[in-house]
Symmetry: D2
Subunit: 302 residues, 4 copies
């Protein structure tokens, strides 16, 4: 279970006291505030705070464009225009703060997104909780034989059982030894900043993470993508739903132009134009490598 | 006058409709929201939005420090501890968005603070307003004879009058010519993106500017400093008052440890220690250059 | 003329003394070092330093991929793969430092690229030179009647002459008055930090600008684009040639996947797929707005 | 041993071929290039590339200060002036690229420095090596009883032996199980991106890390500090030696103004001034908390 009854009570308390504010408010995300949206076996995403809404994007863009928006008849149209033409700064005018509980190996991928603010639980200062990510059976996938960083078929039977046994047993033993080294009951044990090195990277950590909407979209594009590792993708997918409730017009534009869209190279454009004129382009006549041609076909065939 | 009656009415409308929210609210800054705080002759600072309060800093820090805050008895103490030990990430958990109207030469200094989000009024897209910064007589200072980037005594009499005449006349003529080149009434005039190059850098522009509290403190430390140019300092001072109302504990810690504090070099520490033991240290025995010694004396003499 | 004979002599001196180094060197860019590549009437771009070459990108990527590069048979292929799949970090491992002389209104667009290091000539500390950008006659374009931030036909005859006269006369007069206010010969004149506000934004400034290859590509994609203002585009085009000489494989991949490529939305992909199957898609059946459909047609028709 | 004979041979090859360059070269760091400077039991720091030297800092600053450096008689003096007055941009004009091998728990602290470029060895794509950090006996410290994130006395006898046994045995077993789950010899084993979660955070990873001198100084100030965890401090100390050889004047200024210096609060300055006038200030009359007073005394007593 991701949160304790005490924590659930704290969340209820946070949700019980609406305050009046003159700021822009977005009802769709107010409904999510503080609630723990479960991810994986013990993880969660909680919205702690937000700044701005769809109108805040338009409002910021209109400073940069003055009174000249007469040709874009409404906010939604302007937001689509901004997204299509890579005018990213108005999207930076919205901000979100999340509390996330996640395995360390996921946190290590996540932190590579540098344009964000982070406060992580400190294992130098505090003792880690005994909570480890153990994949659900349907996620116990074999190494892909075609993609060096992907997964293949799901493991079954004895092999799957053996993997689960290893993960559970090693996690438990590592934690027992962590506690033994800390040894707080009698004399002073090993320093916490040293003892923690014995813990595997499927142990859960947590952090506060704050970023703007433009950088969040970039995060979602990379991490909610089918090529992202499943264990971070499920966080991105949960966040994507929150964003759709928070800034529906911006999210719809993002879904159309980024998530559901594609990039075509100059070579690919040339092939497309030839194909639209009726030419039967093949990999050999495309100017692309085999891998690139395969990806191109996947794009145009959907 | 920095804003028109129409704009004042829009601001009143924005202030008229409080909404309920579950987010952290800071009453001290709610009172400032949307209001135009006047700066210089036509400029202003308006708070458009904010995220977080003093408690949000503590809350983020406590994720990074877990349950281990028992030795810091209260929020204010923890905030002071964080500021003193350069733990900057919890301060990044608060965010503010401002609408600022400012002369271009001030905007050029301001934009050097890179960790911020900006949407500026576009002179490619729109026509600039006829508003120029003309210094008040008491700001018409001569070049400093001791500081290559500072001001000396205030100009007086005919010299002051001549400077004001130049600034006003050149600004007016440049703008007349700008309008003439744009020539919108009859045929198509010169492109706006070209015509604007004729305008001097004391013309007013405006932007939305959003940053986090840590980076805002850095901005204030450099720009509310007596060595900063007066024309940006007055903006920083106005913002500093807003911040003091928004996050009083964080601002008090900042005032003590940063704005009112000082950095001492290893050489300076050595001198201090010798002086506290009764030694009469001089520039010659200090190990410092003359300039550095002068700054050191200014620091310890207050 | 962008540089003085004294400056030309300094550049010759810098180019006269090759030193041995163990670092990666890129002969194609060594040929450009220090030389002033002229841009506009008085501007230039000078390469001051660089770090890395095409191999440095591969080398960094191979740390992240260990010994597993067996499926990408050569450096060029790996570089294309990285570019195609938005693996941007290896491109960040190359760095370039430029000395640029440019009009202030161009500098104001340029500085919006925040992930870069900048040292600009200080008009608080020093006196600006009397050098202004005056457009060549073929650049004196009218405001576009279809694009709010674009140019239309070139001005001609008396109108063009009048614009040139205004730009030259106002620049000259502003500078005369700038000098008069500074008034250095006799008594102390107006502070430099104040006097500079009288200067128009077509005066030239200069700076050192340093960025990594990934961010430089982003700069080039936006600023070497036909929609960028001509006066910044010519700088981007000059830099693009330097980059092509510096990292030819990375530049070729960038030209194919970014500069010459395009983004297609989910809606656009759907239209493409229908068209490739023989359907006659129109704006009405496309799901796109008129503006978007026009851009879509321009893309597929080339 | 941090590197294999094959790797040593590759390094020798890299060092064998000096090339002529027109760029600024710094002989002091050329001597370090590519060489693996050992850190901890299996880690290292290798300088892969650098840009700039002390003169490059001055050169960049002189663009921002034009011809106006007559009052600072030499490069060293100007560098000290820039450091003392927090003019950080000229230091950003130097850049360094390192190859670092380090335990994951150290990498997790290191990556919090966001203004840097990183390429890390991928455990999704490749198989991790069997190399773990096992502390030397003199580093096996107990938890500090006064500092929640510090170390106390060194463990001894049976307790130390037990800790070492746990760390070694758990690391070995985790790695055995990692290999067993990957099971490459026969059929397809567990995906690498999943199997790696069983590995503890004292396993070694490696990355290319590139940053500018200003941000590197910030890293060194925090990580070469006595309060930093020993296991990252030793990396910082090794890098500090390299920097001292690379940019001796900048490093000396950094050592004086940052590493060896201190920050004094407004309250602390007031106490200092009173003490220098002969007053016997105590904690009670200082206006400081007990903890702050203790830190203040430590500073002035050295």
């Amino acid at each position: 279970m991701p949160i304790t009854p005490e924590q659930a009570a704290e969340i209820d308390a946070q949700r019980a006291q609406p305050q009046p504010t003159l700021r822009a408010t977005a009802p769709g995300i107010e409904a999510h505030l503080y609630t723990a949206l479960p991810v994986l076996d013990h993880g969660f995403v909680r919205v702690i705070d937000y700044m701005g809404d769809d109108s805040a994007i338009v409002q910021a863009a209109r400073v940069s464009y003055g009174a000249g928006t007469k040709h874009v008849s409404n906010d939604e149209g302007l937001i689509r225009y901004l997204m299509r033409h890579w005018h990213s700064t108005p999207f930076e005018m919205c901000e979100i703060k999340l509390h996330v509980k996640l395995p360390i190996f996921v946190a290590r991928q996540w932190i590579r997104h540098r344009t964000a603010n982070v406060n992580e639980y400190s294992a130098r200062y505090s003792i880690m909780d005994r909570e480890f990510y153990i994949p659900a059976p349907e996620q116990l996938a074999a190494q892909s034989s075609v993609n060096n960083q992907g997964r293949g078929a799901v493991l079954e039977g004895a092999e799957a059982a053996r993997v689960l046994e290893i993960l559970k047993t090693d996690a438990g033993r590592s934690y027992d030894h962590y506690e033994e080294m800390l040894d707080q009951d009698g004399k002073q044990g090993l320093a916490r900043e040293l003892a923690r090195m014995n813990l595997p990277t499927n142990i859960y950590t947590q952090w506060y993470w704050k970023t703007d909407l433009h950088n969040l979209f970039h995060f979602l594009r990379l991490r909610a993508d089918p090529h992202a590792q499943y264990e971070i993708r499920v966080y991105a997918e949960e966040i994507a739903k929150v964003v759709a409730d928070w800034v529906p017009a911006a999210y719809a534009a993002f879904a159309d132009y980024r998530m559901g869209g594609a990039s075509v190279s100059a070579t690919g454009l040339d092939c497309l134009r030839r194909m639209l004129k009726g030419e039967a382009v093949t990999q050999e006549t495309s100017g692309m490598s085999k891998g690139e041609w395969r990806e191109f076909l996947a794009m145009i065939e959907g």
